[in-house]
Structures are given as C-alpha cells and as structure tokens.
C-alpha cells in the first residue's frame, strides 16, 4: 500500500522495519536517541528496540566506524548516522583502509555489512564545514557502495537494501530533501542498489542528476518543456555501482548530455559520467557534454555569497538553453520560489 510520507518518515520506517526483520541490526550515532532523533529519522527507535540496539555515542567518529566494522565481522549490521558528512572526514582511515578492503583483502572470507548515513547541509549559513558533498570520494574507493536517494520512496527502498547488503554502504541524505513528501510503499520494500531511475522521458537532451539536484532538475525540465525542449532525466540513485547502462541508453537517444552534481566539479561524479559517456557513446554525441556543479571553492556562509554559488533550476534552464541555442525570453521561470534562496522552503526557520 502507498502512503504519502516525508523523506524523514520514510527513513524512519525503513529503520524500524530493518530492526524488526533482523535483530542483528543496530543503530547508533550522535543524537540517535535524543529528543530530535537526527531530524526525526531515528525517533522512537530506542523505545521500540531498547538501548542495546539504539544508542548515542562519544564524539569519536573514527573509532566508532572501526567498531561498526568489528561488530559486523561477527554478524551485527550496524547503521551509523552522522548529522553532517563533514564530521565523517575523521573516519576515513577506518572507512577506506578497513571497511572498503576487508572482504577483498582477506580473500573473501569476511564481510562488512555496515551502513553509514551521512547528511549534506545546504543554505542557512551551513558554510565551509557543514555542507560538503563528497560522494565522489566514496565512489573513488573500490569496495564501497554509495547511494543518494532523492524521493521518499527511494529513501526507504535504498536504505533497506543498504542495511541488508553485505558490503559497506555510504548512504547520503541531502538535508533539503528531508521534508519532501511522496508516495512510499509499506512493508519490506527494497530497491536494488546500482540502479538509476528515469524520472522524465524526452528526446532533446539527457540530464543526469543525483539527490537534491534532481529536484532542481525536475523544476527545470518542466520549464524547458514549456519552451519546447524535452528532456530525459536520469536520477542516478546509486553512484557506486553506477548504472551507466541507463545513462548510455539515454544519451544514445538524445545525443546530448548535461551532468549535474551537488559537489564541486573537479574529479566529481558528474565528471565521471561525462568521461564514461565520452568514452562509450562518443559516436552518439551531437555536441560537447556539459557539467553543472558547484564552483571549486569552499562553501561560503553569508546568504549573499551563496546566491549564485549553489546551482538551481534557473541555472539548469540556462545551460540547456545555451546548449540548444535557444534564447528564452525573460520571465520564463515564472514564480519558481516563494522563499529565500538559502532555505529549502518557507516553512524553514533555522537554525539548522
């Protein structure tokens, strides 16, 4: 049965179901059992499953990652949450030198079924150290899986699959998706890792996107539609393994590619998509592929400085227009936003 849920509630439901299905699933992280429950995603878990399976932790990101690895070697399935991806930089040694390699380097005898939830901030002065989008880092490391759900249904389906996958999975949530609503199937609903989703069908250009940028892309596609441009919109969902088959299929149809990214451009996922398309679908490309990512700069804090820094539907429309040599008249964007550029919606009232 479908119900309309927020992204947050969908994650919460996935966690509850995973913990009901398998008592070896545990859930920890700073604040998982506090009154806010990681933006609501972990609310009620401790009451349901007890303090042995759901617990707060010391501010020790590196050790707590190694502890997840160790527990997983003995059959536990830890889900660890970080309120910002940036904090998890402390744990790269455990993630990269241990988690990612353990199954491979011990000849396939052990496996590390851990899920690490990372949240990316945006706007409201999140600034240089609360808004980094480092999915390209994780995707660069052999042995990790990386997912970035966009819709509430994907949030649930990918989280359940991540938890029951036998490999370390980096599950990246965008803070601006948390309040998004959408239909979510009930029950043990899983979406296979490694599959992209076609969100819109069109013939003029392929837009390949991920996470929150897909929301901006959806707005852009709608506006472009009205201008007679039809877009194929691919939401990657999984970044590693990555569903290049769907991307290639789309580009073979449209002959044009715009790759979006939530992070900086250099050595990004958007760059990888462009590289692979250029390598594999060169003959299908009608023109140079393009990339729209944030600048190769740290994220500034002032709302004035983030105005053109973050990329939005407007930017996508502009780039697509340039690629297709369309001159749009002023005002085609209409009344796209009813709130300031640095908040996800008018409902938002700081401080997070």
């Amino acid at each position: 049965m479908m119900r309309c849920l927020t992204f947050v509630k969908a994650i919460n439901e996935a966690l509850v179901q995973a913990m009901e299905i398998d008592k070896s699933v545990i859930c920890y992280g700073l604040g998982v059992d506090d009154p806010k429950g990681i933006f609501g995603t972990t609310l009620g878990l401790k009451e349901k499953f007890g303090e042995h399976r759901v617990f707060d932790m010391p501010t020790s990101e590196n050790a707590m990652t190694g502890i997840a690895i160790g527990a997983s070697l003995n059959g536990i399935r830890p889900v660890m949450s970080h309120q910002r991806l940036d904090f998890f930089l402390l744990a790269m040694d455990q993630l990269v030198n241990n988690a990612a390699k353990w199954h491979y380097m011990f000849g396939g005898q052990s496996f590390v079924p851990i899920t690490i939830r990372l949240i990316i901030g945006r706007g409201w002065g999140q600034g240089p150290t609360h808004s980094q989008s480092l999915q390209a880092w994780f995707a660069h490391i052999p042995g990790l899986k990386v997912v970035m759900p966009t819709t509430p249904a994907d949030a649930k389906g990918l989280l359940l699959s991540s938890i029951f996958d036998n490999n370390p999975v980096i599950y990246i949530e965008h803070r601006w998706l948390h309040n998004l609503e959408g239909d979510v199937p009930d029950g043990d609903f899983r979406i296979p890792l490694g599959k992209a989703k076609k969100l819109r069908n069109g013939n003029d250009i392929s837009i390949v996107s991920m996470s929150y940028m897909t929301i901006e892309a959806l707005h852009a596609v709608e506006i472009l539609e009205k201008q007679g441009i039809s877009c194929d919109l691919v939401d990657l969902c999984s970044l590693k393994p990555i569903d290049l088959a769907m991307v290639f299929g789309s580009v073979r149809k449209t002959g044009r590619l715009l790759a979006l990214d939530t992070g900086p451009g250099t050595a990004s996922i958007a760059g990888e998509v462009i590289a692979r398309v250029s390598m594999e679908c060169f003959g299908n490309l009608k023109q140079a592929p393009q990339r729209l990512a944030i600048p190769d700069f740290p994220t500034p804090t002032s709302p004035s400085l983030t105005k053109v820094f973050y990329k939005r539907a407007e930017d996508i429309v502009r780039v697509v227009g340039n690629m297709l040599r369309k001159n749009f008249q002023e005002g085609i964007l209409g009344n796209l936003r009813n709130c300031s550029h640095d908040v996800p919606g008018a409902w938002f009232k700081g401080p997070f």
Partner: protein
C-alpha cells in the same frame, strides 16, 4: 591592600567583559527571529565567566583558538564586537568577510586566531601555534578552548601528547557544561572518570575549577599562564559550567526532555555574573549604580554594533569565487 586594589580592578574588568558577552548574546537571541542572522549560532549565556577570565589572564599577543561556541571567547579576548556581529549577519565588514559566519570567527589583532565548527578540530591547530612560539623563542601562550565532547576525539589526546612531549606553551581549557548537544556526559564518557585527572595521567599538569566563579578562574589560569610562559610546558583546566539556552539557536529547551528544568535552575542560581556582582558590591568600593552605568554603556556599545552590522553591505555574490588561494605575500 595593593593586591586588594588589583583584585578590584580585575573584578571590575571581569564583570565588564562578562556583561558584554551576556548582553551581546541576549540581543542576538532576541533578534534571531528577525531571520537576518542566517547561520547556525551557538550562544554561551551562562558560561561567561571562563571566557572573560581566561581572556583577561592572557596578554593581547597570546594566541587563542576556539570552537563553534566562540562568541564569549572572542569577546573575552578583546575581539572586535562590530566585526563579530557583522560576520553573523553575513556582511562584507564581518571579521571573516561573511565567509565564515558565527562558527568561524577571527580577530588576529588581539591574537584570536580562529574558531571552527568541527568538534576538536582546533585543538591541534592551537598546539601548532604553541610549537611556532617555541620555534620563534617567544614568551607567548597559545590558549585552546573546547568543550567536554572534544575530549572524546582522538585528536585531543594526540595533541596533548605532543604538547607534553615538546613542552609547548599551551593552555588547554575544557569548558565542561555536561552536554554535547542533547547528550549528557554519561552516554559518552565513563562514569566517575574525571577528565582533568585523566589528562594529568597523560603527563600534563591539570586542575579543575568552578566555571561560575570568575575570580577563581582568573587566579588559577593566571598562575598557569605564568608557569607556561616560563617554558615549563602545557597546562590543562577543566571548568564546570552550564549552557543556559539550547545547543544551537536562541531558545530555551529544557522542556524537550534531555535535561530538567530543576537542573537548569540550580545552575542559573549560580549565575556567574550575579555572583561576581554581589562579591564586588560586598568586598569593594563599588555601588550598584556604578555597575548599572557600566551596563548602560555596554548596552549602547552593543546597540551601535548591531546598527553597524545591519547597515553594512553584503559581499557581492560573485566574491564567493575569488581568493581561493593565498598569493605571494610581502
């Protein structure tokens, strides 16, 4: 008598700094809902004594590093109020030109070398400043502020180890306010283990003190600073204190369930500003009226600083993509 006079001067200066911190923070809290300060903001109301006393015990050319909860430390060290508020408002006149916000403050003129938002992240940076002092054979001190949660980061321990190993001029100040966001100490650190004792066992001289008693903090820290300045190596202090308002943002949140109203009230009873006021009124030739005048003049200063911040212009959006790298310097 001489020392009595000195104590009086110190007491008055401590009070001035604490009131300045308190009133600034309260004005931020009051005006936060205008939604013009658009960044995460961590207030230190209730914790002013340590900030003021440590700041006063240090020289202007001593260094200081701080955390996400930096307003008090910045002002205690003598940081520029206008620039701090302008930074929180995201203005070009902000101390970090609008790039850093409340969590990234700097005022190098008074040795405030930076605050950042990653728990524990500035601890080794402060130790590095200590190393530079030693290399340059200066008698400065590098002071590092951090909370009780920073103790849990491995980098804290690594930093203390190195500071002790090299006998660096570093003053570690842990403000233990019992919580990390909504998490009480007991879910993060072993019951009964005292932070300052553990640090002692790491090889660093350490002590604990009442973070609501500004005079005590000042005395303890001053003698440690003298010790450090002589080249005797680092010292560590744990000061017990309490944050009155929510972890991040302007409100009170004792109602949401992670701590009790009673606990809050018991700490509020020990208000470091009231305590110092009473102490000064009792022991020294100062009247309530004089203190009120001090308050009024601080009020005025703060009012003007908010005006400065509000009236300053925003940086141009295009400036976001300038000055990534430092160029050649003179």
């Amino acid at each position: 008598m001489c020392s009595q006079k000195k104590n009086f001067t110190i007491g008055i200066e401590l009070l001035r700094r604490m009131i300045k911190i308190r009133l600034t923070e309260e004005t931020i809290a009051e005006r936060y809902s205008e939604w013009k300060m658009r960044c995460p903001t961590h207030l230190c109301i209730g914790q002013e004594a340590v900030a003021a006393a440590v700041g006063l015990a240090l020289r202007k050319d001593d260094f200081m590093m701080s955390t996400h909860r930096a307003h008090g430390h910045y002002l205690g060290k003598g940081g520029d109020l206008n620039k701090m508020l302008a930074e929180i408002y995201g203005k070009a006149t902000g101390c970090s030109a609008g790039r850093g916000g409340s969590m990234h403050l700097i005022d190098k003129k008074v040795g405030f070398m930076g605050s950042t938002s990653i728990v524990g992240g500035t601890i080794p940076v402060g130790v590095g400043l200590g190393l530079s002092i030693k290399l340059r054979e200066k008698d400065q001190v590098s002071c590092i502020f951090f909370g009780d949660a920073a103790i849990e980061e491995g980098v804290f321990y690594e930093s203390v180890n190195f500071a002790v190993l090299k006998k660096l001029p570093v003053l570690f100040i842990c403000e233990n306010n019992l919580y990390s966001v909504y998490s009480p100490l007991k879910v993060r650190q072993p019951a009964g283990r005292k932070i300052y004792q553990m640090v002692q066992a790491m090889g660093c001289p350490s002590d604990q003190g009442d973070g609501n008693n500004a005079m005590e903090v000042y005395q303890k820290v001053s003698s440690a600073v003298a010790f450090i300045r002589k080249g005797e190596g680092p010292c560590f202090f744990e000061f017990l204190t309490y944050r009155w308002r929510e972890h991040c943002g302007p409100n009170f949140d004792n109602n949401i369930g992670y701590r009790t109203e009673e606990e809050y009230l018991s700490w509020k009873d020990k208000d470091p500003i009231c305590s110092l006021e009473s102490h000064l009124l009792e022991q020294f030739p100062v009247s309530r009226k004089e203190i009120e005048e001090m308050q009024n003049s601080i009020h005025l200063e703060i009012k003007k600083a908010f005006e400065f911040a509000e009236n300053s212009h925003f940086p141009q959006p295009q400036e976001a993509t300038t000055n990534l790298y430092a160029g050649e310097l003179t």
